[in-house]
Amino acid sequence: MNSHRRKLLQAIGGTGVVAAASPYLSFPAFAQNTPIRVGVIAPKAGIAGTIGECGLRGTMFAVERINATGGIAGRKVELIVEEETNPKDSIERLRKLVLQDKVDCVQGIVSSGVSLAMGAVAEEMKALLIFWDGTTQDGVKETMASPRYVFRSTDNECEAVMASLLAIKYWKGKFKTIAGINPDYSYGRNNFAAFQALLKKFGVEHKVVADQWPKVGTTDLNSHVAALKAAKPDLVFSSLLFADLPIFMRTAHGAGLMDGGTKFVFPAAGFQHTALKKSFTPEGMIFGHNTLYFDHKDASPLQKDFVKMYVDKYKDYPHWEADRAYFAMQVFKAGVEAAQKAKNAWPGKEDIISAMEGVKVQSLGGPGHMRKDHIAEQTFYQGLTTHKNGYDFPTLGTVDTMYSDRIQKPPGGDFWKWIETAQIKL
């Protein structure tokens, strides 16, 4: 796939014709006949490469559908794709999109390290930016208290909260000792801390017998697995989510960690679902598929269309990053169209931003909305794994569904206080 995937989708009559006639057209008419430019920044290589690719496919699916039905408020969408790498280089890509390519909106980002740096820069540049993901908070505190130009996905900790609730719901009283193996950065640390906080809240007595913190992308987890095995925990909680998760699963299976009835909770297993083969991934684990579970029996026609397209075109099954990307595009579309309708003219950036606040959309995985504080609410799916399917990897035998307002801190709230005080239902 080309890196600089610029799809110059011709507007009605062609941009050349419009340009030739431009002296005779008023500015709004001209604006409506040129494509809306959307910049996308997503990882294409390394441990998050496949995740970025899945997100890009979600974006392209959204754009194809939007353009096939007349575009956004009558204007076709043109994508300009750049690669997400480290914070320094990704911010350079943001500047290129905004200053050089003059995009109307930037979407994307998977890494929290990049999103935290980029969010502040986008605010300073007054650039409309919608994050797909990468919204782990530093200690789960809002680093951008009241952003104007930046819109975030749901808190990254949502999947940990839901997985913790399911672990309590299914296994309360069946475990006393717990162990964690989580990636050594804020996401992993917040998730394991959230799990323990929820166990405490629901009065589940437990003892942490081991906590392992492999560096993200570690390809040798033998010593970590050995430490877990030696601790003999009743339950293992792991928010590994990149290419290290299948490695962990293979290593743990080979070491016999899964032979003794130990329970496993993987809040973010969905990112690697097709790589977790049945041969080394037992049934009965809690798997988080986040905001898109591809095999949901009650999926919307939209999701079914997407999954079919994905399987036919890419010979693979999508995960939630495709949904996040689709959601971001739909929120932008809904905002532009609502602002245009209200103004009865082509809206400015400030109008679009105001219209995006509170907007409701139908995403691939289900309904969602953008809160007034620029944080998304979406539908989450997790459950217990089964081998009873036609795939070579486990799917969910029981599917639990939660809207994120049950598992995400409210606007302006403190995550840890919210866990302590909120009326959270199992």
């Binding site: 290589a45 914070p87 320094k88 911010i91 740096a117 502040a120 820069v121 540049m125």
Partner: protein, 319 residues
């Protein structure tokens, strides 16, 4: 020859000062990191090109400069860029001295591995000590004041491509001049002598270890200044700045431009930044093409782009 070099340097500086009126704001925001790396590489090459010590861990001092700017601006509320540069530079020198005391006892691969190890130690510190360093997410770097002027009427982009850009180009000129004087001083000649033949230079009275320690410290100061500029341009100091791949980029730039020439690393910095940026926009296999470029340079043009330019000039001159 010296006159020609002087004219070329003045013309390059004039071109740098004129760039904002020619290039778009985006390209100026790309020139800024090139200027930052050029300053860092002036220091790096004092050690590599003139002393013959190849460090694989100098990103450590770039990161010290970046985190210095972050801590001073975000945590301590110090806005003065002059103060940020001085304190970050001093912190880098303080960090460099113990590393240098141990490292300069060795040469070649042993020196390289030791510096790499210290670099990764610092990266681990930045990554693991969340409460102090912000862990993987790092620390915000706030916009500084320049000579007491905060330029509040300018947004961040206008600040970067305006006063901050001119300030940094001026800084490059001043630090470049200082480094020119250093490498052409008796001290610089002592470094070159110890590079060519350590035993013989010691026999002639050169205090090799001490001079190498001084060179190491100066290089750390320059890297920290570059790191502070990088961090202000990005708005964030993050652990990746101290990672070994970033040290590798410093080596890449020096080799690309030609470490045997005073101006080589500067040319390498500008070429690397623009080459990388353009390749990233053209292909997702940009890393492959960057690697291939390095192979071609090392195999066919070991004296780098400046060496290649010199050869072409000599050939033309003969004809």
């Amino acid at each position: 020859m010296r006159t020609a070099v002087g004219v070329l340097v003045l013309a390059s500086l004039a071109a740098l000062f004129a760039l904002p009126s020619v290039l778009s704001a985006y390209y100026i925001t790309l020139v800024l990191p090139a200027v930052a790396y050029a300053i860092a590489l002036l220091g790096f090459n004092l050690l590599f090109g003139y002393t013959g010590l190849l460090s694989f861990g100098h990103a450590l001092y770039v990161a010290v400069g970046a985190y210095g700017a972050a801590v001073l601006s975000s945590k301590l509320g110090i806005k003065s860029f002059e103060l940020v540069l001085l304190l970050s530079g001093a912190a880098a020198v303080a960090a460099a001295i113990p590393v240098a005391l141990l490292s300069v006892r060795y040469e070649k691969i042993f020196f390289g591995i030791l510096t790499l190890a210290f670099g990764m130690l610092f990266h681990s510190f930045l990554f693991k000590f969340y409460d102090i360093t912000g862990g993987d997410t790092g620390i915000r770097v706030l916009r500084p004041s320049l000579f007491g002027n905060e330029f509040k009427d300018l947004d961040k982009t206008a600040f970067l491509v305006g006063p901050f850009y001119y300030y940094c180009v001026g800084l490059l000129a001043v630090l470049g001049f200082v480094m020119w004087r250093i490498v052409h001083s008796p001290f610089g000649l002592h470094l070159v002598a110890s590079r060519e033949n350590r035993r013989k230079s010691e026999y002639l009275g050169v205090r090799v270890r001490f001079f190498r320690l001084i060179a190491f410290s100066i290089s750390a100061f320059y890297c920290a200044v570059g790191g502070a500029i990088l961090a202000i341009n990005t708005g964030q100091a993050d652990p990746e700045l101290a990672y070994w791949t970033h040290s590798g980029e410093l080596v890449f730039m020096a080799v690309l431009g030609g470490f045997a020439n005073f101006f080589g690393p500067l040319v390498g910095a500008f070429t690397f930044i623009f080459l990388k940026s353009e390749l990233m926009g053209i292909t997702q296999f940009w890393r492959f093409w960057l690697g291939l470029t390095l192979i071609v340079i090392v195999v066919l043009f070991p004296r780098g782009l400046v060496g290649l330019g010199q050869d072409l000039w000599t050939r033309l001159h003969r004809q």
